[in-house]
Subunit: 225 residues, 2 copies
DNA sequence: CTATGATTCAAACGAACGTATGAATCATAG
DNA sequence: CTATGATTCATACGTTCGTTTGAATCATAG
């Protein structure tokens, strides 16, 4: 029995789908674009993955499995080194967002293409995609929220959750790419070539995130508290 | 000659399109959905607007024209009150992002629906939409960047532009709505009802944004500068 | 009332969509 | 070599897409 799955076809489809979903979105990318770019037959996607929905789930799973496990490993190590004490907030933020951003340099794990796809997809309209991501992210989110709760015992938990949310947004934009940056600027990012740009993006974004996370607490004007 | 355009049909189409584009995205919303929800004939969109592309442009123009003019007016007033001195960064940020967020309470100007649409659209894959938004935003962006340059003379301009970008991302996520928040939390936002939620979101987000904007500058590790 | 132009309407267009089918081709086990 | 099951392939299905058409309806000007 010949049971060896042709890994090459599967990978070629996943690579093409990753790139096209990043560029044109889920609804904006057709099966014929994907199979054309991957140089495989139109029926190959349904044969190997079952459907377009199942394909994009696999596109994400292929990268997110490793990413979220790596995030857990880094946080494990930080907590072990802290030996019972809470981990510093900046280290927790770096474990979550820094680990993500450093994927950009790792072409074997999707590199910048996957990062931009992920950045765009968190606001993706398609319900099933957001539901899928929420499910994939649940465990790692809970771990990191808990770590932040312990690291910032004086900050109300609701406030921490909101700031985590804000940090996700800032990061998504940052990695959604230069296209979105066109909203803010029209000059090419001056004196910086694109290799340099990423090296500088990480510390830039980290400063911003930590500054936001550690900002003075808001006070609510008229009614509540 | 009967030259009075039926404003009712146009407005009903725009309202339906705004709501549906918010919920399902541009590619995910069909003309038949829009005209069905608006209770108008299928051909009405092409008759009144020309095409689906022209329709979504009008959806945005209807709201953004006022928003960006209002932002300019607020900044005008702040600069007049400062009388030559630079305006405080927190006031500039509030003029830009606070003015946006306060639209949520103004149902006549789109309210929360338009805000969520805008939040989602800044990462919209469709090239022509981002190009259109960049064009619509150019003037107001330039004004606010200039104001921030003057307010923060010690911060490199490239740094300010990036941080503006990060602030846009955090805000987009915040207004893209509770759906995206599901990534971070699964509990209903506790003790807060949805009316209360918005009143608290604004000071929460503002604290975060100012904290990020005023964070210590990053230093770039190995090579450059 | 009549004429005119704006608007609405039902119906249809060709193109593109995701998916399914059954035969052809391939690699391997026996 | 033959048999088997995995994979590829060309082709087609039924649906939905955005847009167009030409007649019907409406409101107003003269």
């Amino acid at each position: 029995m010949a049971e060896v799955r042709n890994a090459d076809t599967r990978e070629r489809i996943l690579d093409a789908a990753e790139r096209l979903f990043m560029a044109y979105g889920y609804d904006g990318t057709s099966m014929r674009q994907i199979t054309g770019e991957a140089s495989v037959n139109l029926a190959a996607v349904n044969y190997h993955f079952g459907s377009k929905e199942a394909l994009i789930r696999e596109v994400f799973r292929r990268r997110l499995d490793w990413l979220n496990e790596e995030r857990m490993r880094v946080l494990d190590r930080l907590e072990a080194e802290a030996g019972g004490q809470p981990v510093k907030p900046s280290l927790i933020v770096d474990a979550f967002f820094g680990t993500l951003l450093r994927m950009a340099d790792d072409e074997a794990r999707g590199g910048m293409t996957f990062l931009r796809l992920l950045g765009r997809t968190l606001t993706e309209p398609s319900e099933f995609i957001r539901a899928f991501l929420a499910h994939e992210y649940k465990a790692v989110m809970d771990r990191f929220k808990e770590a932040l709760f312990r690291a910032l015992p004086d900050v109300p938990k609701a406030e921490i959750v909101w700031r985590f949310h804000f940090m996700l947004g800032a990061t998504s934009y940052a990695i959604a790419g230069t296209d979105a940056l066109r909203l803010v600027t029209d000059w090419q990012i001056e004196e910086e070539d694109s290799v340099d740009r990423l090296d500088r993006l990480v510390p830039r974004l980290m400063s911003f995130l930590i500054g936001g996370l550690r900002a003075p607490l808001p006070h609510f004007d008229p009614p509540g508290q």
